[in-house]
């Protein structure tokens, strides 16, 4: 009952290395089998502890495979994103970077294996659970979508609005200033440049103070100077304790980031995700 976990744990550790107490790890992997009462209580207690501590891993992939129907895009992917970690995800275009991110915020469900988001199996999550988890995950897309009929400030505050929370107007102004869009608060999204949209998307992604920020080619539309600015913002967020995963093929950006902090680089190749070596 408590076996069959070593493979997953070993792979996970290989990538991220944030182990957790052995007993938590062991009972975490017992699955849904029938447990003796004592073990049940232990399991519940462990779950309670994990939630109270904010979880030991925010997003975990366990032997994940994904098949679009026309063949496998990802197979046997295992990794964990530990709280406060900073990862890049790279690989040739079409390798599955976006799919990987979509799996991480439950836009897609894995066709094999298991994705856990805040220690919850993505397949078991209801639509409302997914909505709630997205309030803890900020997503920045390459082609970020906005509500074009509403001004930028309202768009950036949208996560608060849909969560029926009222934001502080001063905080919103401060956030817009922080991403350099303070003067564009009343502009409509179609009036913004590519770089401004990227920064607005970042502001929207972090307004709920999420635990995780997932960015898909966030610098895709930006010149180098603007890319550096965005990277600086992300590094700053990471220093505040946010977990960050950036999918990009911009090697210069990755080198720049590695000079500033201990970022890990994951590479998707041949349907697998591997920790990239020193070739960067």
């Amino acid at each position: 009952m408590l076996t069959n976990t070593s493979n997953d744990v070993a792979q996970g550790q290989e990538f991220v290395g944030h182990g957790k107490p052995l007993f938590l790890r062991r009972i975490r992997n017992t699955g849904r089998s029938v447990l003796p009462v004592r073990d049940c209580i232990r399991l519940r207690f462990a779950q309670f502890c994990r939630h109270a501590m904010g979880g030991h891993r925010v997003i975990a992939f366990e032997n994940v495979g994904f098949n679009y129907g026309g063949g496998e895009l990802l197979s046997d992917v295992s990794l964990r994103l530990a709280p406060g970690s900073f990862h890049f995800l790279t690989g040739p275009s079409g390798a599955g970077k976006s799919t990987f991110l979509k799996l991480a915020y439950a836009e897609l469900r894995p066709t094999a294996g298991r994705v856990s988001i805040f220690d919850r199996d993505a397949r078991m999550m209801t639509r409302d659970d997914v909505a709630l988890s997205r309030r803890r995950i900020g997503v920045v897309h390459q082609d970020c979508q906005f509500l074009d009929h509403l001004p930028l400030a309202t768009n950036v505050a949208l996560p608060l609005t849909v969560a029926s929370r009222t934001g502080d107007a001063q905080d919103l102004t401060a956030l817009l200033d922080w991403v350099g869009l303070g003067k564009l608060a009343d502009a409509l999204p179609p009036q913004l440049s590519g770089g401004e949209r990227q920064r607005a998307a970042l502001a929207r992604a972090i307004i709920m103070s999420p635990d995780v920020i997932l960015a898909d080619e966030p610098t895709g539309n930006l010149d180098w100077e603007m890319s550096l600015r965005l990277l600086t913002l992300l590094v700053e967020l990471n220093r505040m304790g946010k977990t960050i995963l950036i999918a990009t093929h911009d090697m210069n950006l990755i080198r720049q980031a590695k000079s500033q902090l201990a970022a890990r680089v994951l590479r998707i190749q041949n349907r697998r995700v591997q920790l990239a070596g020193a070739d960067l």
């Binding site: 439950a106 836009e107 897609l108 639509r127 409302d128 997914v130 909505a131 709630l132 997205r134 309030r135 997503v139 897309h141 979508q145 906005f146 509500l147 074009d148 009929h149 509403l150 309202t154 949208l158 996560p159 609005t161 849909v162 969560a163 029926s164 929207r204 709920m208």
Partner: protein, 298 residues
């Protein structure tokens, strides 16, 4: 509905604003629910009016028939007795009695005056019979009368109205059926309008899902809009139709069918139910459409 509508009205306008205003579908919903309510008022009026007509004619049917016996004076009493005996054994006849000469004089008085020498005239004798429910078979009765009393003629003067009363009854049913069809069409059209609005707003819905909106929040934004539009449209349609019916010329001659179309007394309150009913339909149709659309998205 009592609970839902105020909640919808009170819902934060912010939720409504996240969906961009869509002039065309808005007008379409308004127009559809308005015209459907307008038609529904007339179907309701038709149903109520034909119901009244059916009742009136049916009650007239419950009246009497007469048998007229013309025979040579010496056979008259025999034939009257024979007919009365025959009627007493005919199923469907509640009672039968022969009118005496005073009653016959009273019947003739309006026509010939009080001085009519009734005894000197070879008047036929009249037998009044009351029909039971279910009624008698008039063709069979005629045949038996011809055999027993050759001078007897059955005059079931109100019976010709029976098919008309049935027709009025059918008309009432058709009116009710029309109401159901109108309700169904309203729901179908609002579903189509909602579907088109949802399809047009898929990018908006995706953004909302991405930033953590629950389905209920997104659905509410659409449902609120469509329900309020349908309510407004239906209210306008109902009021216009009620004014139209109130302006119809009144019936002075009893039973004038077309001019009898309309509402009487408390019947005027019935069309007022249409706007809430239409908004309930819009609420349910939009809600179902929205949840169906969302189910296909992640």
């Amino acid at each position: 509905m009592k609970l839902v509508l105020p909640a919808l009205l009170a819902a934060d306008r912010q939720a409504d604003r996240v969906v961009p205003p869509s002039g065309f579908t808005a007008q379409l919903t308004l127009f559809t629910s308005g015209s459907m309510a307008f038609l529904a008022v007339f179907a309701l009026a038709l149903s109520l009016a034909s119901g009244r007509l059916a009742d009136r004619w049916a009650s007239a049917l419950a009246g009497t028939a007469t048998i007229r016996i013309s025979a040579p004076p010496e056979q008259l009493d025999t034939q009257v007795a024979a007919v009365l005996a025959l009627l007493s054994t005919t199923p469907g006849i509640a009672s039968a009695r022969a009118l005496d000469s005073a009653e016959q004089r009273a019947l003739l008085e309006p026509w010939f005056g009080p001085d009519l020498p009734i005894d000197a005239l070879p008047l036929p004798r009249l037998i009044e019979l009351a029909e039971a429910s279910p009624g008698y078979d008039s063709d069979g009765l005629r045949l038996r009368l011809a055999a027993e009393a050759p001078g007897a003629v059955l005059d079931d003067h109100t019976r010709w109205r029976r098919p008309m009363a049935q027709a009025a009854e059918r008309l009432r049913l058709l009116g009710a059926l029309s109401l159901f069809l109108i309700a169904g069409s309203t729901a179908a059209m609002i579903t189509l309008a909602a579907n088109s609005a949802l399809a047009a707003n898929l990018p908006v819905i995706r953004v909302l899902r991405l930033v953590g909106a629950k389905d209920a929040y997104i659905v509410r934004a659409f449902v609120r809009r469509f329900t309020l539009r349908a309510l407004t449209g239906a209210a306008i349609g109902t009021v216009l139709a009620m004014i139209g019916i109130a302006l119809l010329p009144r019936a002075d001659a009893a039973g004038a069918f077309l001019t009898g179309l309309g509402f009487e007394g408390a019947g005027w309150l019935l069309p007022l139910l249409l706007p809430p009913v239409v908004s309930i339909l819009a609420f349910a149709a939009t809600r179902a459409a929205a949840f169906r659309t969302l189910k296909g998205l992640t």
